[in-house]
C-alpha cells in the first residue's frame, strides 16, 4: 500500500517538477527506466511469492541502475555503446517478462 502511494507520489513529482535532464545523463535514462520497471515487477512478484524483502528490493534497484549505467558508460567509452545498451535492455526485459508471467499466474491461477 505504502509502496503504491509512494510510486504515485513519485510519478506526480516527476510530472509536476518536469526536471530538465542534463545531456550527459540522457543515454542512461532509458536504462534507468528499464531497471526501475524490473525492480517494480520483481518486487510485486516477490510479494506475491511471499518472499518480499525491503532491503533486497531497494538494494537490487539501486545496484541494477548503477551497474546498467556503468555498462552503458563503458560501452560508450569503448565504442560499443549501442550494443551494450541493447544487452542491458534484453537481459532486464527478459526478467520483466518472466516476472510479469509469474504475477499473471499468481493472479489468474493460469
Amino acid at each position: 500500500m505504502i509502496a503504491a502511494i509512494a510510486l504515485v507520489v513519485g510519478i506526480v513529482l516527476g510530472l509536476v517538477l518536469r526536471p530538465t535532464v542534463p545531456s550527459w545523463l540522457e543515454p542512461y535514462l532509458p536504462i534507468a527506466v528499464v531497471a526501475a520497471l524490473d525492480a517494480v515487477f520483481g518486487g510485486i512478484r516477490a510479494r506475491l511469492d511471499g518472499l518480499f524483502d525491503a532491503k533486497v528490493f531497494v538494494i537490487s534497484f539501486v545496484s541494477n541502475v548503477l551497474v546498467a549505467a556503468l555498462i552503458v558508460f563503458l560501452g560508450d567509452k569503448l565504442g560499443v555503446g549501442a550494443a551494450l545498451s541493447t544487452a542491458v535492455v534484453v537481459v532486464l526485459g527478459i526478467r520483466i517478462f518472466g516476472n510479469a508471467a509469474a504475477i499473471r499466474r499468481h493472479i489468474f491461477r493460469a
Binding site: I2, A3, A4, I5, A6, L7, V8, V9, G10, I11, V12, L13, G14, L15, R18, P19, V21, E26, L29, P30, A32, V33, A36, L37, A39, V40, G42, G43, R45, A46, D49, G50, L51, F52, D53, A54, K55, V56, F57, V58, I59, S60, F61, V62, S63, N64, V91, I94, R95, I96, F97, G98, N99, A101, A102
Partner: protein
C-alpha cells in the same frame, strides 16, 4: 545482488542463459527469505523496511515520470526548431526575391536612362548591344535546343535515416553539378551563343557548383529536373550534341539508372537576363576604344 546458496558457481557460468529465462526473480529475495527462516529474530534493518520501500518506489516513479516527460518534450522542441528554421528560410527567400525584383527594376531604369542619353544608332550603340548580349545582361531570344536532365524517381520514401546528420544513399541525388556542367560545356562547344539552366542565365562569371544537396548556378539553387536551353544554330547544335560523348553517356545512364534525359530543337527560345556584375578589379589593358580586343 547476492546469489542463492543453492546455486553453485558452475551453474551460474554454464547455464546462465537458461537461468536468465527460467529464474527471473532476483535470487536475493529467496536468499533473504531463507535467512529469515533460519534466524527469525528481527534485525536493526527491520524498522527501515517501510521507509526504504517508500523511497525506492518514489525514486522509481520519479524516474519513469522524468523519462516520460523528457521523451515527450524533445519532439515538440525539435518540431519548433524545425518550424523556426523553415520560417527563416522562407523569409530569406522572400527577401531574396524582392531584392532581385528591385535589382531588375533598377537595372531597367538605368537602361532606360542610358538609352535616352545615348544616340539610338551608331558605333557606340551597336558595340554596347553586342557586349550586353555576350555578357548575358540582356534577355535574348532565338532558335536553339533544349536539353532536359532529371533525377530518377525516388522509389523508397526515405523512412529511416540512420545516424542523425547523415543522408541515406537512396536519398542522395544521382545528378550533381558535374552533370549540369558537362551538358553546358558540351553546348558551348557545339556553338551555343547563350545558355540558361532552369531559367538562370549563364554569364561569363557564372559558376556551376554543388552545395549540400543542391546544384548552385550563379549562386542560385536549382533542383532536378534540369532544363538547359541553348540558343544557336539549332541544326548544327543538335547534330553536334547527338554525336558528343556527353550525349551518349547520358543515354546510357538513362537506360541503366533511370535518369531522365531528352533533348529537342526549339524554334523560339527566350532566355532571361542576369544581373550585371560590374568588375571591380579587372581593368582593360588598353583603352577599349583603341583596340576592341579578341572577339569570340
Amino acid at each position: 545482488m547476492t546469489s542463492a546458496p543453492s546455486q553453485s558457481s558452475r551453474e551460474l557460468t554454464t547455464a546462465y542463459l537458461t537461468d536468465l529465462v527460467t529464474n527471473t526473480l532476483d535470487p536475493g529475495y529467496a536468499a533473504a527469505a531463507a535467512r529469515r527462516r533460519a534466524d527469525p529474530r528481527s534485525t536493526w534493518w527491520d524498522r527501515w523496511n517501510r521507509p526504504a520501500v517508500a523511497i525506492g518506489c518514489l525514486l522509481i516513479g520519479f524516474t519513469v515520470a522524468v523519462a516520460w516527460v523528457h521523451t515527450n518534450r524533445g519532439a515538440p522542441a525539435a518540431a519548433r526548431v524545425h518550424a523556426d528554421l523553415v520560417t527563416r528560410v522562407r523569409a530569406a527567400q522572400k527577401a531574396d526575391s524582392s531584392l532581385a525584383a528591385t535589382a531588375g527594376a533598377l537595372a531597367g531604369e538605368a537602361n532606360r536612362l542610358r538609352d535616352a542619353a545615348l544616340p539610338s544608332d551608331g558605333a557606340v550603340r551597336s558595340q554596347l548591344d553586342r557586349d550586353e548580349l555576350l555578357a548575358g545582361v540582356t534577355a535574348v531570344t532565338g532558335p536553339g535546343m533544349v536539353v532536359r536532365l532529371a533525377d530518377p524517381p525516388r522509389t523508397t520514401p526515405a523512412a529511416v535515416g540512420g545516424r542523425p546528420g547523415t543522408t541515406p544513399l537512396a536519398d542522395t541525388a544521382v545528378l550533381t553539378d558535374r552533370d549540369v556542367r558537362a551538358v553546358v560545356n558540351e553546348l558551348w562547344h557545339d556553338g551555343a551563343e547563350a545558355i540558361s539552366v532552369n531559367d538562370v542565365r549563364l554569364t561569363p562569371t557564372t559558376a556551376i557548383r554543388f552545395a549540400g544537396q543542391a546544384v548552385l548556378v550563379d549562386f542560385r539553387p536549382v533542383t532536378s529536373p534540369y532544363t538547359i536551353r541553348a540558343i544557336g544554330d539549332r541544326n548544327a547544335l543538335e547534330t553536334a550534341f547527338v554525336d558528343s560523348a556527353i550525349s551518349s553517356r547520358y543515354q546510357t545512364l538513362a537506360g541503366a539508372r533511370g535518369v531522365a534525359f531528352s533533348f529537342s530543337q526549339a524554334d523560339h527560345l527566350t532566355l532571361p537576363t542576369s544581373a550585371a556584375v560590374a568588375p571591380r578589379y579587372a581593368q582593360p589593358t588598353t583603352s577599349p576604344s583603341a583596340t576592341p580586343g579578341p572577339s569570340r
